[in-house]
Each structure stands twice: as C-alpha cells, then as structure tokens.
C-alpha cells in the first residue's frame, strides 16, 4: 500500500509503481499480483486516486473527442476516408460533414473535400475494433487551405500546446502565423514567418521536458525575429 517511485521518475516496462491495489491503474500502467506496474517508457504521475505513466514515445491512437489534422485519402459514394497519421484511418460520413442537403446521385462529394485536402476533424467515436468515426460538427473543424503541415511526436503534443494553449498562442502572436496543433502530432502552419514558426515548434518538441520553456521560448523568438529584421 505504498508508492514505490517518486512523481516524475522515469520508468521502464516492468517497473513496480505501487504496492497494493487501492489505486486506479490508469494509462500506461497495468495491475497484477496486487501491484501496479509500468507498461511503457515514461514519466510517473501519481494523483489522489490513480497512477499513470505518461509515455515518451509511440504512435497516435485515436481517442474520442480529440481534434486532429488529417488528409483525405479516399472519396466514396457517401463518405470520406481520412488518413490520421495513425494505424487506423477515420471515416467521415456525409451527415457528419455538412448541414446542407446533399443528393448523393447528383452532387459531387469532391466539391466538399477532395483527395489530398487537409482537414481539421473531431473524433466522434472509436469502436472496440478501432473503427474511427469522424465529424465536422465542432467550431474548430474546417478544411485548411494553403500553409504546410509538419509532424511532431504525438507524446509531445501537450507541451507544444502548453497550459491552456499558452505555448502555441505565444508562437502564434510573435510570428504572425496561424498554427493549429492536432492531437495526432500534425501541426498546420500558415503565415509570414512560417519558417521561424516551424523552427520554434521543432525546438519546443526537442526541449519538451525542460522547465520554464514558455519563457525561454519567448526570449528565443524575440531574438530570432530581431536577427531576421537585421537582414
């Protein structure tokens, strides 16, 4: 009935995190012989009722409610298939895509979204067999035009967004770019200083686990902007 590790410790699969079973074994952990073990490389977080291991690597696995950036990979009779940079593709049905009336035999679905289009979509539901249903019914969802998409490790997404969106907002403001971060590690960037924004995002990803990063990034961005101004 005791914590075996400290908060923020780095653990590997098979490490014991807790003796006893009166704590919930959350994400990244499993319970066996009255103990809780880690199942991935990551950082331990204890909370009042549970313990979790925040993994340091791994591919994106769709979860209900996530807002992600995907690319349309196929247009069928009444739905789109969207590549989410994950082992599982998403399906967007016509009724979840638009409020408009669409006559399936007359109208062309590619008028809405065509193969190759980049879209922000919300994950509506994920079934047991990992069928992923998508929806556009969220104010953040839209088709993205122009700009570019870069990839970061899905495990680093929370850091890039920052507490309450502060980190991405800061990069946004200073570089005059539009930046959208998908939970699946796809980041869309468009604007004047897009190159700098890309470098900033990559820097945040690299230094994701260091303290006081938000303030350091502010300084770094001002610095870089000044250098660009000189040229």
């Amino acid at each position: 009935m005791s914590r075996v590790k400290e908060d923020n410790d780095l653990v590997v699969p098979g490490d014991v995190l807790f003796n006893g079973s009166n704590l919930y074994a959350n994400q990244g952990t499993y319970e066996a012989n009255d103990k809780i073990y880690s199942e991935s490389i990551g950082v331990v977080r204890y909370s009042g009722q549970g313990v979790e291991v925040v993994p340091m690597s791994g591919r994106y696995i769709p979860e209900e409610g996530d807002v992600v950036i995907g690319e349309v990979s196929r247009v069928s009779y009444s739905r789109w298939t969207i590549d989410l940079n994950s082992p599982y593709d998403g399906t967007l049905g016509i009724s979840d895509a638009t409020e408009e009336y669409v006559d399936l035999d007359e109208d062309d679905l590619t008028d809405f979204y065509d193969v190759g289009d980049t879209v922000v979509v919300k994950i509506d539901s994920v079934s047991e067999s990992m069928d992923v249903d998508l929806s556009m019914k969220d104010r953040r969802c839209k088709k993205l035009s122009g700009g570019r998409v870069i990839e970061i490790a899905p495990a680093k997404v929370p850091r890039v967004i920052g507490k309450g969106g502060t980190m991405v907002q800061q990069v946004n403001d200073r570089t005059d770019c539009n930046i959208i971060v998908g939970q699946n590690g796809q980041v869309w960037i468009k604007g004047d200083h897009a190159n700098l924004a890309v470098r900033a995002i990559k820097k945040i990803e690299r230094e994701a686990h260091t303290q006081g990063l938000t303030d350091r990034m502010a300084e770094w961005l001002d610095d870089q902007l000044e250098k660009e101004g000189d040229r």
Binding site: N8, L10, V12, P13, G14, D15, V16, G28, Y30, A32, N33, Y37, E39, S40, I41, V43, P55, M56, S57, G58, R59, I61, P87, Y88, D89, E128, S129, M130, A155, E207, H209, T210, Q211
Partner: protein, 250 residues
C-alpha cells in the same frame, strides 16, 4: 589446418576460456537505442563481436488484409544475416534457419506485448545481424525488446536473452562462435524481466542443440538466467540514460 575437436584446449591453466573469460562471465556488451531515425523504435546491441541492429515499425496498417486479426495486432518478425556477417560470404535472402529463428524470436517476445490493444494492426520487427560470432538470436531478442520499448509499444516487462553452453563437459555462459561451433552444446534462453527479481522466472525461449547431461542442462539454464538478469539491468540503464538525456536537466 584446424585442430580436431579433441585437441582444442578450452581452458588454460587458470581456468580461463579461449577468449580469456571466466566460465560464468559474458562478453562485453554495449547497447544503444534510437539508432535509426525513420523507425518508430530501434536499438543496436553488441555482445563481443556479435552486433545486431533491431528496428520496429508500427503499430501500422497490415497488408495483405488476410493476415489481419480482428482482435489483436500481428507481429511480423524478420531475422536476417548480412552477407558480410560471417567469414565466408553468407548467401543473402531468407533461408530455413532464418525463418526458424524469426519464428522463435517472435514467440519469445509475444507474451510481453499488449497486442489486444491494436486490433487489425501489424507490428514489423526486424533483426539485422551485422557481425556474427555466436549468440545472434539471443542478442537479436535483447535488441528487439529494447526497440519495442523505444517504439512505445505497451509491454508487461523487458525481455532479455542469453545462451549458455557446454565445452569440454563444463557449463559456460554466453558461448562465442568457436565454442558454439566446436563445443558440446548450447542452450539459448530468453526471460521476461520485471523490476522484482523474484517474479522474473518466465522463460519464453529455450532451445537446445548438442549432447549433454541433465545436470548440465540445469546448470546451463541457471547460468543463462543469471546472465539475462544482468543484461536486463544494462537494458534498463541504457533506456534511462537515453531518455534522461532527451528530457534534459530539470
């Protein structure tokens, strides 16, 4: 001309082996993870002159579709020796031996993986033997386990593997190429390791090749298990060092 089997002096007057090791000493081992950029996870393990790079891709889409399982991920395991890994050129491409080793290595790793988490997906694991001096399958398994952890695939514990063998009727740990080829027998063993040593007694690979007595088998297995535990400690240290460096100073 090579000496016949009986003429080889397996131990010198101090009881040291052909390469100067004690009977229960394994070769110097170095491990590194994240050696490949494109792979989801990768690791290189060198055990004496044996050198293996393991890579992991996935979970990802699995093709052809008929291989998919509706309730779990499927592992594709590849064991391959580079043409330059042995003294004579190795004929490239899969052969009977490589297929068998791929299969047993897959079975050695499967029990720790949470495959039900990824229905219909596939996980590609590849072990490339760059240099071979005995013990390639066990070194490959040790490397693959590190690569799987590096890829962030959920697993119950870390697998490590090591062989023990018999030369001159004496059990020895971690046989090298010469001891393997010309000795009496060798027994590769893979173990699932947890932090608590008492719990780590699940063996996921055990093969045997050669002539030996029952006592020698028991001795070899306990020697190999001891070696696996030490390897596990090294695996753990490698992971912690690598990831603490990524984490930076806090």
């Amino acid at each position: 001309m090579t000496a016949s089997k009986e003429d080889i002096e397996w131990f010198d007057e101090e009881g040291k082996r052909v390469d100067g090791r004690e009977k229960d000493e394994y070769r110097d081992t170095t491990m590194e993870i994240g050696v490949l950029d494109e792979a989801d996870g990768s690791a290189m393990v060198e055990c004496g002159n044996t050198r293996v790079v393991a890579s992991v891709f996935g979970p990802q889409d699995l093709h052809p579709k008929h291989l998919q399982e509706s309730d779990r991920a499927v592992i594709k395991m590849r064991y391959n020796m580079a043409p330059f890994s042995v003294d004579d050129r190795m004929r490239p491409g899969p052969n009977r031996r490589a297929k068998e080793i791929g299969l047993v290595a897959k079975r050695a790793l499967e029990p720790v993986l949470e495959l039900e988490r990824f229905p219909q997906a596939g996980i590609d694991i590849s072990m490339e033997i760059l240099e071979s001096d005995g013990g390639t399958r066990v070194t490959g398994i040790t490397a693959a386990s590190l690569a799987l952890a590096d890829a962030g695939i959920p697993m119950k514990g870390m697998v490590s593997a090591m062989a023990a063998g018999v030369v001159d009727d004496t059990p020895v740990l971690d046989v090298n190429g010469k001891e393997d080829k010309e000795g009496n027998a060798d027994i590769p063993v893979a173990v699932i390791n947890y932090e608590d040593e008492e719990e780590s007694d699940e063996i996921t690979l055990l093969q045997m090749d050669g002539d030996l007595t029952q006592e020698q088998v028991d001795d070899c297995i306990s020697l190999a298990k001891r070696g696996c535990r030490d390897l596990y400690e090294e695996q753990k240290q490698t992971v912690v060092e690598n990831y603490e460096a990524i984490r930076g100073e806090e």
